[in-house]
Each structure stands twice: as C-alpha cells, then as structure tokens.
C-alpha cells in the first residue's frame, strides 16, 4: 500500500508540466481524478464532503455547456436517482473532449481521432464510476480477504487514471510498466515460501533420526547394565544367554555371531560359543574367528582388549 501510494506521487508530479499545455476543460477533468484518489485514501466523512464538492463542479459544467440540446434534456433529469447522475457524468465528460479536438485538428482524420478518444474517455470514466459505486464496506472486505490481489488492483488502477488524458504512446508505456511490476512482485514473494517449506522438511527429516539414535544408545546402555547386574547376582539358570557378534565385518563380508556362554568376575574368563561351529572360544579367539585383521598393530589391539571388537545384541533380535 505504501509503495503504491509513493509511486502515485511522482505520477502526479509528472502531470504538473503538462497542465499548462491543456485547456481549462482538461484541468477540470484532471482535478476530478485527483479528488477520486483522495476519496479512496481518506475516511468516510471526508469522502462524503468531497462527494458534495464534486456535485457542485458538475453543476458548473452543466451551466457552461448550454449550447447542445441533449445537455438541456439531461439537465432536466438532475433531481432523479444517483445512477442516472453517473450516466450523465459519462456523457458530459465525453463530449467536451471531442469539442476540444475539433478545434485543434481538421478533416476526416480528426473525425477518426475523435472516435478513438471518445472510446478511451468512456473507459476511463467507466472505471471511475466503478470506483465510486463500490461501497466502503465492500472495499474493506476486499482488503481483508485478498490483500495481495487488492494491492495489485490498486497499483494497476492509479496509473491508468493518471495517464488517461495523454497520447497513445504514454498509455502503452504505462501498461507495459504495469504488467512488469506485478510480475516482479509475485516472483519476489514465491521464493521465500518455497525456502521455508524446504527448511521445514529438513527439520522433520532430522528429528526422528536423532530420536532413533538416542533410543538405540539408551537400549544398549540398559542392556549392558542388565548384563552386569545379572552377572553379579550369580546368574539365574533361566536367564537367556545374550547374543553377541563381532563389531567389524570380516574379510568374507559376513559378521560372526555367538552366545555369551559365561562371563566371570574376571574379564579373562569370558567364554563365547560361535553359531557357525558351536565351538567355545575366548574373546580374542572369537574376534580372530570373525576374520579380524592379521596385521601386527591390529593383532596387538585384539590381544590387549578384544572385548572392544565384540557387540552385545538386543534380546529381541536374538529370537
């Protein structure tokens, strides 16, 4: 809204040098346009006051234009409904423009120009009528419901009314500018919404991953605690033997599994039964059986702390 209003001001300024070149009738026409804009900008009371001023101006026009018979007929219908008044306004505005151009130009070409100008003037006045006829409440509703669309309409309407009196080239330029600006506005708005959506998707993706990781860690810790407490309690005969496997995958691409058959107080007394052969192994033998690397350093690691290469599985996965 503010930007549109700001843009409106330079258009008004641009019109100032052209005023001196036009006749009094054109001055009145432009003044009416300014009043319309002000009405839309200000409140209800101000609008009513300005409407009264417009009516006074209309009376002046009628008095000055007593030459034609049709004007006399319209003058007779003044006291009737407002709709007819709008109709009169349309007609009165179109004829003075034709009159002006007749004086400036001559010949058949002038006739063609008059017709074209008459059509354009009608369209301009028609838009003005629409603006006036819309109730204030309706305008407010439109603003509330569709802010974007209303902004676009306001932006498009003001240049048209301001440049209505100028030559064809000016109108074409105005239209081009109008078409470009709304597109830029729309393009400017779309990217942030897309970016926001992408960011949200990323957040959603990361959430469960973190949760799963935490749950897994917690489960493993609990398993270790249970194992330790079980061993301390001299191991119940009905307790299931936990399943274990090598941490790293062997050279053949398979992971060796086994059962923790016995876990004594001293870590050296651990016994593991492998599934593939059913043989009883110590942790170091189990790691080597699983295809542990043969290099000296790794071998040394296995000998020093083989339990680091063995992982205890969850009880659900064993059965």
């Amino acid at each position: 809204m503010e930007m549109i209003r700001g843009r409106g001001i330079p258009n008004g300024v641009v019109q100032v040098p052209n005023l001196s070149a036009n006749n009094l009738l054109q001055k009145f026409f432009i003044a009416s346009n300014h009043f319309c804009q002000r009405d839309s900008e200000h409140g209800e009371n101000q609008q009513e006051a300005k409407k009264r001023e417009d009516e006074a101006e209309e009376d002046e026009k009628d008095v000055e234009l007593t030459l034609g018979l049709s004007l006399n007929g319209q003058f007779g219908t003044d006291p009737r409904s407002r709709k007819r008044r709008h109709f009169e306004l349309g007609r009165s505005s179109s004829i003075p423009e034709g009159f002006v151009f007749d004086e400036q130009r001559s010949g058949g070409g002038n006739g063609g120009d008059m017709r074209r100008i008459v059509g354009r003037g009608g369209s301009d006045m028609f838009q003005l009528d629409r603006t006036r006829s819309l109730p204030v409440v309706t305008e407010m509703d439109i603003e509330k419901e569709r802010k974007v669309s209303e902004k676009t309409r306001a932006f498009m309407e003001s240049p048209v009314t301001n440049r209505g009196a100028y030559l064809t080239k000016d109108k074409n330029r105005g239209q081009a500018v109008e078409t470009e600006k709304p597109r830029a506005f729309l393009e400017f708005k779309i990217p942030p919404t897309k970016e926001g959506k992408k960011e949200k998707d990323r957040l959603v993706v990361t959430g469960p991953v973190n949760g799963k990781g935490k749950n897994g860690n917690t489960a493993k810790k609990q398993k270790n605690n249970v194992e330790n407490s079980g061993m301390e309690k001299a191991r119940n005969i009905l307790e299931d033997m936990p399943c274990v496997s090598t941490r790293d995958v062997g050279a053949d691409g398979k992971r060796v599994e086994g059962f923790l058959y016995w876990y004594g107080g001293n870590k050296e007394e651990v016994k593991i039964v492998c599934v593939c052969h059913g043989s009883f192994l110590s942790p170091a033998e189990f790691v080597r059986h699983g295809g542990g690397t043969v290099s000296d350093d790794d071998g040394g690691d296995v000998m020093i702390n083989p339990l680091r290469h063995i992982v205890v599985k969850l009880p659900s996965s064993s059965i």
């Binding site: 399943c243 059962f259 058959y261 016995w262 016994k271 059913g278 043989s279």
Partner: protein, 362 residues
C-alpha cells in the same frame, strides 16, 4: 515374540538313607518357588505346557530313596528346553519321568525320556506325553534281560498308543485344540515319538518318525535312532509295496502330504504311514550324555556339533568348578539344552525346537 518354555527340575540336595518326612516336605516349597519363577518368566506359556509341568512334578513325590552309593543312578541329571520358535503353534511335547518303573529283579529304577513332535495339531503329541510312558510301563515284564523282549514291549506300546489316539479322536466331543477334533481333519493329525528308557546297564531307544536320539561317547556322536524319511530305500519299498506313492513336494512326502514315513496317528494315511518303532539297545560305558531332540534342532545342527556343544557344557565350558555337585550338573544339562535351542534358532530353524540332554556320566 517366540514362546519360550523351560522345564527345569533340580534336585537341590543328594538323597540320604531313611530321609525324614519334614525334610521331604521342605523340598516341595523350593520346587514350587522354581515353578512360580518359571511361570513369571514365561507369561505366554500355553495351558498344555503348564499341564505338562504340573504333571511332570508328580513322579518326584513318589520317588524312592536309596543309599549314597547309588546317587548317580537314583537321581538322573537332565535338562529340558522346548520353544515354539518361528512357528505359529507349539506342537512339540516333552515327557520326563524319572524312576517310572522298578523291575522286581533289580534294585535300580528305570527312567523314561520322550520327545514328541506333532504335526497338523498338537493333541496327538499331548496325548502321547500323557499316556505313552504308562503303556510302556504296563508292557514291561519282570524278565527284561533279552533284547527281543524290549523290542516287543516297545512295539506293542506304540501300537496301543496309536489305536488309543485314533479311538480317542472319535469318542471325545469337546476339545481345546485348534482342529476341534473334526473328522476328517482330525485324521491328518499325528506325532513323531522318540523314547528312551535308561537302565543302569542299558539304553533303550524306540523311534517312530524323524526325531532323533544321539549318544555322545568320548566326544563322538553315536546315533541311536534313524530318521524315518519317505525316500529311505527300505521305507520307499514298504510304502510302494502297500500301494502308496512318494511324491517330491518341497521334500519327499507320502502321497505328497507327510514328510515322514512313520508316525503315531495319521489315520488318513494308513497303512502307508506305519506306527511301528525302530528299537535299539545300547550297553552303557563311559558315555558323556544322551541328546533327544525334534527335527527343529537336527535340521540345522549336525550330530557332531550338538555332541561337542553338549559335552563342553557338561564339562563346565572351561570354568573351574566341582563336578561332583549334582545341582551344578543339572544346571549344566539345562545350559546345554538351552544353548542347543538358541543355536538352532540362530541358524534360522523354522520349526518348534525341543531338546532333552541327559548326563550319563557315573
């Protein structure tokens, strides 16, 4: 989740001469405690398994006490593990009856161990668990020194069990099992049976079906039973001689239906599927243990592997312990049976797994 059932009967202290009644009454609370603990740990246990556990506790009260010299003989050390595995229904059954018979001509009792693997439904295996040891006891005569006598006794027991199962299916109207005893669906229900009677000097094994009994002697497996598969040459000849056919449907099957050539029950497939057991009698020497198990174990674990695992468990798995304590020995048997069961499941066995490990060391 898989349904796990562990039947553990431990003899907390060695029996003594003329044990007093109060001491005897003290054992029952301990046993009940174990039962309660076992029940809590296996809340998904089926009613049949509960009945089996309760039933297996009865013979203990009728046990006779002997002198210290006969501790090894009077209280056999064994471990049992029976799990549903990856099947939907638990159709296996295990029967343990220590001192189930006392011959007149001998001072030492005989012990009964049986593993029954049902198919089609579980009521035939359950019936075998409840009745087969009684039929064997009835068929036993006072003079059992001859091997032919043992074979005759076992064959008659199995035949009576088979007839009883067939007639029982026709007469009983109400039942709790899945097939609801609806004929002809009931006629396709049967069970394997591998039975072992352990005497002080002999091991008698009677097998009917594809369960197996393996003796572990000096670390080497000695099969005491042979699987009754339809593609076995003599079984194939017998079936085709009787007018039946063996069709290969994922594996050799009698009439394309049953994957074993002998079973108790299966009235629909008679006379192609026989209930006659194969009986073997083995003299006892320095044996390590005896393993009775269903095909859920033997399909994925070889005799050598099972024998080495059980032998290692009975020796404590490398631990230092006093092997003379019977309680620890019972625990070792249980650990051996549990370890074999977990080994079968870890090797992706797709059937019920039932394992009985009996310590035969003197």
């Amino acid at each position: 989740m898989a349904e796990i059932c562990y039947e553990v009967v431990t003899d907390a202290c060695p029996s003594s001469v003329y044990e007093s009644t109060p001491a005897h009454s003290r054992r029952r609370p301990r046993f009940q405690t174990v039962m309660h603990e076992d029940w809590e740990k296996n809340c998904k246990r089926s009613k049949q398994e509960a009945l089996a556990t309760r039933y297996s506790s009865i013979p203990r009260s009728s046990r006779e006490d002997f002198s210290d010299q006969n501790v090894d003989v009077s209280s056999p050390r064994y471990g049992v593990s029976s799990v549903c595995g990856r099947r939907r229904e638990m159709e296996d059954a295990v029967a343990i009856h220590p001192s189930f018979s006392s011959p007149k001509n001998s001072e030492f009792p005989q012990h009964y161990f049986g593993v029954y693997d049902g198919h089609g439904c579980s009521h035939v295996a359950a019936r075998c668990r409840e009745r087969l040891h009684k039929l064997v006891q009835e068929e036993l005569s006072s003079d059992m020194e001859d091997e032919e006598e043992w074979k005759t006794t076992m064959e008659r027991s199995f035949t009576r069990m088979d007839k009883e199962v067939v007639s029982w299916g026709d007469s009983v109207v109400t039942a709790n099992c899945k097939c609801d005893l609806q004929t002809p669906a009931c006629d396709s229900v049967g069970s394997t049976a591998v039975v072992s009677v352990i005497t002080p000097d002999k091991i008698v094994v009677a097998n009917c079906g594809d369960s197996r009994a393996v003796l572990c002697r000096n670390g080497k497996p000695v099969p005491l039973s042979t699987d009754h598969k339809p593609d076995r040459p003599d079984e194939l000849d017998r079936i085709e001689g009787a007018g039946g056919r063996v069709i290969y449907w994922d594996c050799p099957r009698v009439l394309g239906v049953l994957a074993m050539s002998r079973a108790i029950g299966d009235n629909y497939l008679k006379p192609y599927v026989s209930c006659e057991p194969e009986v073997t009698i083995t003299d006892r020497r320095d044996d390590d243990c005896l393993i009775l198990a269903s095909d859920g174990l033997w399909d994925v674990v070889s005799n050598e592997t099972a024998c080495s695992v059980a032998r290692m468990c009975l020796r404590g798995g490398g631990r230092r312990q006093d092997n003379e304590d019977p309680a620890i020995s019972d625990k070792a048997c249980t650990e051996a049976s549990v370890l074999l069961t977990k080994l079968a499941l870890a090797r992706n066995s797709s059937d019920n797994v039932s394992v009985v490990v009996i310590d035969l060391r003197r």
